[in-house]
Subunit: 297 residues, 4 copies
């Protein structure tokens, strides 16, 4: 069990008379991730609404800000429970056995053009036995061929670009891994979050992007960028790719400042609270969702 | 009210020992589209399941076929009720007023890279007054700049390609219109269906792709390819783009034959049954979905 | 006649033990552009060679620098003679009449994928009468649809990207215009140079990119970015597109500083020296090259 | 020494009143490739011209055909002399030692976006010792990762596409190899020709595309598609990529038929005439060109 205390502060200069924002900075509420306390402060008197997606607990703050400076600050204390599995026990699922809801995570999406990865995925991974180890092989292949370089990609960079250019940031690593998994008919999706890095003393906390692959009936976590132990992931949003879970979608002209993020892990062996560390077991914080489909016959 | 009698026959040579299929050939079940009768026949004794998506009534037939020939034949009789609106009464909705469920139709998707259409959409349509007429202008712009050419595009062709190449088939017309609408913050989505053409004597019935744009609280129908009156659309599936609603997704090696489709419209003025024709009013067969979000505050 | 005094200073931190450079910072030597005086200074004792392309007078400085700081400074005084033509007299040439050497400027190139612009070019300009005015229409279309934004494009941005994204810097404007012209079978090429802007008081001098289109037997100058009167162009290099005429090609790891460029125009009515200004006539500084082909029969 | 007898017959239905063509179906005339006899017949009385590029002997037939059927038939008898080198003796050349004329073959081109292959090329081949073996490794990497599939690519398919899609025809194999070599600063170019396959009984003769890489002062031949021994290559054209050396460029609307090509190798040990076979030595039929540059200092 991991307990994380964190804050996110976002600052914008709003250039229009009013500007609508959609923020995903509240932690998702799931059976594996509970919020012990939280607070939100906004420097302007704005119209605001908070929504939650029923299926995966993603929360969205919608607000209309006025011209001038907007500062949105969230603070929270969150507890995360991990389902731990022996890697050898995890299996890729046959298409025939997949819940209908998961096909959306096999189909291609904006930044994960899996339709173009069929030949590549089969060339590189088609001969490997299916299972968790094949997913690890994909993760490691992405990690080894891609150079992490800040500013090397932009909002239109997709998995095909990253495959070609061998460079990117965490979201690009995630997209390349997702596209490759989907081309092998593995449901794979994008998780945005805050990372508790292995050594925060040396790196400021930041937004991060992870991958989940559906194996043996649950979503297992992978970080192809190698930045952070997946145990330290705090989930903000879940989607097909980055198009679905931007931490901020802005409908107007603004001058954004860099986000300011803090995070700390609370260690307390008596309470069973661990520091996030790399480990060999497979970790999951999401099971199969409640189905949006009904079977007719 | 329109009543359509139609059939779809799909034939595949299955090359592997078994092959999984996901078909979307059953008409969607919605409050605007009712199935009076239907039948399905399959030439092999297969394992099969039929599912329905709760939110939009899309139906999926999942089956595992064996090596050899597979013939799937669906026949149905369907009634479609149109909500008719005066074009002048329809308005684009402010972002602040959009139901949360609709943001997925503003975000970019695999074949509709609306993130790259911002400058173009503003250049071409930014000065026009918002409303139905602006949507018509986008539809006509797509229609006039794109040459309908069978075989000119493939499964990886996206709106950026169609924008550049000025050529495509119905799905490409739809993707280009959707990407442009989304860049202006209009929710826009993809509808796959069967068309009852203006003059079926001269063209065989075929699968078709349409666009829905969300205006004044409902989804309104547009056909940027100009092939068919939207009144003759029989809805099979609804999604972000073609990635979501392929009529057949095949997980294995097959030799597919060309689909064989028949369709006829039943005219009966006493029963109020009309032939599908082009008309100046705006038509809708879908309202706002039941929300998957709950408002917290 | 225009007389320009200018200097270019380039500074690099060379990170490897040695590093090869290819510079195109000497003005081209042509019958329309003569160098009255020039000097080159380099802060390191380097191996260096200066070459000139026979066909178009482009000059290349090749040198191997050592680790540490490299400063290359060129100063020159250049006179440019313009061939002036009445726009109405200029004609597009029939393919059958084109010199063989010019087909390279009709074929697509790295940043000008004219093979993909056929439908677009015919859609937008196919109905216009051929001639100088059609070229102006293309220039204006590029100018009006593209927003000049520093830093909006990179070394892999091509005409297809600029067509989609409606944003770029001078080289992107040039590539889009070239691709469109070639799609209509007009030979079109890329000129890199230094601009003497309309009002240098308000903008520092900079490298610039122009377009030449072959009409009635000569290459005529166009600036689709609208930044500068073509009369103020000082030609450094000529090529199919930016791939051929980078002002600096670096074969190794360096930290480059921003180039420092100065330029002034010498006005002297007695000597017939004019300030570069926008004018309505068509201007050319390049005729048909000496042929690299021999006719056999 | 190889002696090849071959014919090319091209047939077009010309749909416009007149149509200009540029054909590259005459063998190049070089010191390594001599034409013993040849004949050309055209079924229409057309205006025609034959040109030769001075630097590499590529020949171009330019003609204007009239409406109706056009049949162009070339027959020739050609002798090819190979410069044979021990692979171990061949070295990649330092940038500083490269003749200026060769930089055009390092820069990116339409179908070989080598600017985007830097990271990939260094990742895959950066650790290998430079030399002929590294070029072979690139050739084999292209061959093993790409599936030869007729009709899988088109006139706008480039090396980035082939890298992603792992499928193509001979020109795509060539483009991918060229882009990768250039990213490592090896001059590499495209050769179009006719292949004398290893076993023509089983495959009809066809146009083919090869790669030349500049090593130790000469251009050496490679066939990344693995279709044909390079010894059997008959050179038609030489260029940066396929944009430069199409066997037919058509300026108008036509219905083309499939080309009909025959080729046979004449074996005669007394005259020293060999059948083309695969061999372990490196083969070259092109040296450094006469320079288009003069050194100033």
């Amino acid at each position: 069990m991991v307990r994380l205390k964190f804050s996110i502060e976002l600052t914008y200069g709003v250039l229009d008379a009013t500007c609508d924002f959609l923020f995903n900075i509240h932690p998702a509420l799931t059976s594996s991730q509970q919020v012990l306390s939280e607070s939100l402060s906004i420097n302007q008197p704005v119209q605001q609404q908070l929504f939650m997606q029923n299926d995966d607990g993603t929360r969205w703050l919608k607000l209309r800000a006025n011209s001038g400076e907007l500062v949105v600050r969230y603070e929270g204390l969150v507890e995360i429970y991990h389902t731990v599995a022996d890697p050898w026990s995890l299996e890729e699922m046959a298409v025939a056995d997949l819940p209908m809801d998961l096909f959306n995570y096999i189909y291609p999406s904006r930044y994960c053009e899996s339709d173009r990865f069929q030949a590549l995925a089969n060339h590189e991974f088609g001969q490997m036995p299916p299972g968790y180890n094949r997913v690890l092989a994909i993760r490691d292949w992405v990690y080894q061929r891609t150079r992490y370089t800040s500013g090397s990609s932009g909002s239109s960079t997709s998995a095909v670009d990253t495959l070609t250019d061998h460079v990117g940031v965490c979201r690009d690593f995630a997209h390349l891994m997702i596209a490759t998994c989907r081309a092998l008919n593995m449901p794979a999706r994008f998780v945005s979050g805050i990372e508790f890095g292995a050594n925060p003393a040396f790196r400021p906390a930041d937004f991060h992007a992870y991958v989940e692959v559906f194996l043996s009936g649950r979503w297992y976590l992978f970080d192809p960028s190698g930045v952070s132990p997946v145990m330290g992931l705090l989930r903000l949003g879940t989607g097909r790719d980055a198009a679905d879970v931007s931490f901020a979608t802005v409908f107007g002209a603004t001058n954004p400042a860099l986000p300011v993020i803090t995070i700390e892990a609370i260690e307390d062996s008596q309470q069973g609270l661990d520091l996030p560390v790399h480990q060999d077991n497979a970790l999951s914080t999401a099971g199969s969702p409640q189905s949006e489909f009904q079977r007719i016959w």
